[in-house]
Symmetry: C2
Subunit: 205 residues, 2 copies
């Protein structure tokens, strides 16, 4: 395997390849080519081959890639060949949707707790969880060693909660609050903001 530093833009495409490959596996397909995979994900065959070849020689000339094998390799590379515990902060509608969603497990994630600062919500049941007091969040995360959090609190609370999460040892935050977070270099943040995506499309309308 090539151990040069891999550009983040390539890392960002791997989950998309993985998702498409898992779907192909679900459909009963056994092998694919860079051509076919590229058509499915809207990326050129050359780029698919180049991206994958950063990590090893996973294909065979003449026949392409074994879907199962490539899935295994991508899961390994992305470190989702295991199940990561994840906490959710914010027991609103989005928190509920996450708590109820059954699809994370197959992708490498397992929600273990949901926190809220609203005393009226604490103790309530939500998607099989009992909403916990945000006041105990830092201790709970420290004790359990969870490193991934999904942040579904209002904009006004987002930065303060992110600071607490980082204090507790969280290293990756999926931020649903439509605001940029200031975090140290060793912490990764990804944003989910539907309005931003919509605005990116209206330009072309």
């Amino acid at each position: 395997m090539n151990t040069r530093k891999i550009p983040d833009i390539i890392i960002g495409r791997l989950p998309v390849y993985l998702r498409a490959l898992q779907r192909m596996a679900d459909m009963g397909l056994k092998t694919t080519s860079s051509q076919e995979l590229g058509e499915r994900v809207g990326i050129s065959a050359a780029q698919i081959r180049k991206d994958i070849s950063q990590f090893g020689e996973f294909g065979k000339q003449g026949t392409g890639y074994s879907i199962e094998y490539l899935i295994d390799k991508l899961r390994e590379i992305l470190k989702v060949d295991r199940i990561w515990d994840v906490v959710v902060v914010g027991a609103g509608d989005v928190g509920r949707a996450i708590a109820n969603y059954q699809g994370f497990r197959d992708r490498g994630f397992h929600v273990v707790a949901i926190f809220d600062s609203d005393k009226a919500k604490v103790g309530q049941s939500m998607g099989g969880f009992t909403v916990e007091d945000a006041g105990e969040m830092v201790e709970r995360i420290k004790a359990t060693g969870v490193r991934i959090a999904m942040l579904t609190v209002p904009v006004s609370a987002a930065q303060a909660v992110a600071d607490q999460l980082i204090l507790a040892g969280v290293k990756a935050i999926l931020n649903y609050a439509p605001v940029n977070l200031n975090v140290p270099n060793h912490v990764k943040v990804q944003h989910i903001d539907p309005s931003t995506h919509l605005q990116r499309m209206t330009y072309y309308l």
Copy 2:
């Protein structure tokens, strides 16, 4: 204004600038610099200036940018100086979260209807809407001229529903189903898939 074709990667950053600027306006700030804005969004000052200057000369040497004026210009460029009607397809947890969310209006969007194919859900109230029969979706969209849809149906239904939306005249789809959609060139798609974002971060853990 420069009317060369603007790269999509620049268009993708504009909503992020806009979000940060609107937050700064909310905080009562009046002017900013490429330096300050860059620090807030994690992008170099040079790139901010270059991006903005694609569309005109919106700043002043020595003093920077008027936040209000730059917001106006970005809204104009992104065509969110108006309110776009949007339909939601899929009245599950995510559909409910969207229906209840009050934050779209300020960003240029207004949910006008929510559809589901499940007869048990049709007629139910959800976030001030009455869930409508998906069977009537195409006609309703055609009649109202809505061009933006949010897709929150299961993976198994996503492509078929997308095909219907396109048939109805929808030109932009925000797809919450974790699957790639095949759409003609004139239709824009953006994906929201939390697992994909999480997998992009686990690589670095």
